[in-house]
């Protein structure tokens, strides 16, 4: 009886601390965005204000970086889908020499730390005259989406039962019809998750974009670094809330699929 009570208390304590650990920083930051004066050690602001919001939303620079982020992310996602989805299908459905090796190699590209990579990549980009260009930034952000756009859809395609495809073919459907009516709809949730994760990866990408894009193309995350250093904390807080909105909306859209367990399957080599 006492043991049960102790276990319940322990669970409640863990839940509270865990909730504080995860959500606390976000709530704290959100409060900051609306705070006028806030003395230590009060747990809530002393005065509330919207002036930081008007400051951020009025600022041309900050506004343009938000817009730019919202332009790059969809472009990168679509380009990534065009490049990677056929490959994902090939990885899922066909056996060919080097299949596993290429899959792992794609993943291995993430293992080289980005900073070190960007130093050399700058050399490549300078030679190809891609520095400071729209295409250059697209390529840099694209690199961060390759693994998502190949592995996850490949797992999604793999999980479509071949028997269904064969049944459709036996019923007389041409290969493209089979793909469009059977394979793709069943693989769509996995592909959607991949697209959203890619969108967010591009949206979130800071260092590469800063290196290649500055000073012509400065996106939200790059601006964030500068804000943290040069502006009052409340401005950074407002910007953070703004930057978090697309993420929250998008992941909320696919939350069901992400939490269903497909994500884990997507990262196992087959």
């Amino acid at each position: 009886m006492l043991g049960r009570l102790a276990r319940r208390a322990g669970l409640a304590a863990f839940l509270t601390i865990f909730a504080l650990f995860v959500v606390g920083p976000l709530v704290w930051l959100a409060l900051r965005a609306f705070s006028g004066t806030w003395q230590y050690p009060h747990l809530l602001p002393d005065t509330w204000t919207l002036k930081w919001w008007t400051q951020v939303l009025d600022s041309a620079d900050l506004g343009s970086s938000i817009r730019l982020s919202l332009v790059f992310a969809p472009v990168v996602t679509i380009v990534s889908a065009i490049i990677c989805l056929p490959a994902a299908y090939a990885f899922a459905r066909y056996e060919f020499p080097g299949r596993r090796f290429l899959l792992v190699a794609l993943f291995a590209t993430n293992a080289f730390p980005k900073i070190g990579l960007f130093l050399s990549m700058a050399g490549v980009f300078y030679s190809l005259r891609l520095m400071g260009t729209f295409l250059g930034v697209v390529i840099v952000q694209l690199l961060g989406t390759l693994v998502f756009m190949t592995w996850l859809p490949a797992a999604a395609f793999s999980s479509v039962p071949r028997s269904l495809e064969e049944a459709a073919r036996d019923a007389g459907a041409r290969p493209w019809r089979v793909f469009a009516r059977v394979t793709f709809p069943l693989a769509a949730p996995g592909i959607l998750v991949a697209m959203i994760l890619s969108f967010l990866a591009s949206f979130d990408e800071a260092q590469g974009t800063f290196l290649v894009g500055a000073p012509n193309y400065v996106t939200m995350p790059s601006t964030m670094y500068e804000l943290v250093v040069n502006y009052p904390g409340q401005v950074a807080a407002v910007f953070s809330v703004l930057l978090a909105i697309p993420s929250v909306l998008l992941i909320a859209l696919v939350r069901k699929h992400v939490m269903s367990g497909r994500l884990a399957e997507g990262f196992q080599l087959r």
Binding site: L11, L15, F18, A19, L20, F21, V22, V23, G24, P25, L26, W28, L29, H42, L43, I83, C84, Y89, R93, Y94, E95, F96, P97, G98, V104, A105, A108, T109, A111, F112, P113, I115, G116, L117, L119, S120, A122, G123, V124, Y126, I139, L143, T150, L200, D204, Q207, P221, M224, Y225, L243, A244, S247, R255, V258, M259, G261, A264, E265, Q268, L269
Partner: protein, 298 residues
């Protein structure tokens, strides 16, 4: 499949590989060559602007840059800090992921859903924002200290700009993937096996140890390796939350290039991180290949 089919499949699979080869593979090879002293081709600009460089003309590289870096106490401190933070963060993420996944698997219910839902929240938030939020949370006038001050302890520790804070940040950022991986990994173990163990008289703890742990080896390995690789090469979290020095290797690399103007030494550090990541990645590949083999033999 016929040979023609196989070739066609290879061609179909090639675009992302070619993009990666061109824009990651080539720079990586270039970077490694640069660390060994080759200043031609893509490295020429870096070679021009850098200081304290060890360059060669013609064949036969030099290990001068490596000697510089490995002999630098700042690098060794940073390497140590990186390894510690990575190990600590990975361990905590594993424990939390297993704990939450286990609770969901064995008890479920509303609390389980709340735990899993909370654990996935960091996925919604860009890393830049998360790092800043965590820094503020543990800063001298942040929530932690304010809470303790309100409760009577006016000198609670500050974790902003410390490696502890960085570790908190790394755990925070890595948690969703771990929890998702372990929940799906544990869910894949059939109920029948657990029930059989219980019928045979095993306590819940024994059932976990004897059934779940072995069967969830692959997801556990994936969680550990992906988390470790992510933490070890990270930049944003240690840059925003950590001290100026010693910090993890990511910020040190950038400093070495931007402040000290030593791109060659910075690349040596990148190679060091890559090698460690490759070793960790090898565990992942081995676990997967073994898992696939076991799957086939069933």
């Amino acid at each position: 499949m016929t040979r023609a089919h196989r070739l066609r499949a290879l061609v179909m699979a090639s675009p992302p590989v070619l993009v990666a080869a061109a824009f990651i593979g080539m720079p990586v090879v270039s970077a490694v060559m640069f660390t060994l002293g080759y200043s031609g081709g893509f490295n020429s600009i870096l070679a021009d602007i850098g200081q304290h460089e060890h360059l060669v003309t013609g064949a036969g590289g030099t290990l001068g840059a490596y000697r510089d870096v490995l002999g630098d106490p700042l690098f060794r401190q940073s390497l140590w800090a990186t390894v510690l933070v990575t190990a600590a963060a990975t361990a905590v993420v594993l424990v939390l992921s297993w704990g939450i996944a286990l609770y969901l698997r064995l008890a479920g219910g509303r609390i389980g859903k709340i735990l899993a839902g909370l654990a996935v929240v960091p996925m919604f938030i860009p890393v830049v924002i998360a790092s800043y939020a965590i820094l503020e949370f543990y800063s001298p006038n942040g929530f932690l200290r304010s809470l303790f001050a309100a409760l009577g302890w006016s000198n609670a520790p500050v974790y902003g700009y410390t490696m502890v804070g960085v570790t908190f940040g790394q755990i925070w950022v890595s948690l969703p993937f771990g929890v998702l991986m372990m929940t799906s990994g544990l869910n894949a173990v059939p109920d029948a096996l657990l029930e059989a163990a219980r019928d045979a008289g095993a306590t819940p703890a024994r059932a976990v140890r004897a059934v779940l742990v072995p069967m969830a080896k692959v997801p556990t390995t994936i969680t550990a390796t992906f988390t470790a690789i992510g933490v070890i090469g990270s930049y944003t979290v240690p840059y925003l939350i950590g001290p100026s020095a010693p910090n993890m290797l990511g910020p040190l690399m950038t400093d070495t290039f931007e402040s000290f103007n030593q791109p060659q030494q910075a690349e040596v550090m990148a190679v060091a991180i890559f090698l460690i990541s490759a070793v960790i990645g090898a565990f992942y590949v081995r676990a997967n290949l073994r898992g696939a083999k076991e799957g086939k033999s069933k």
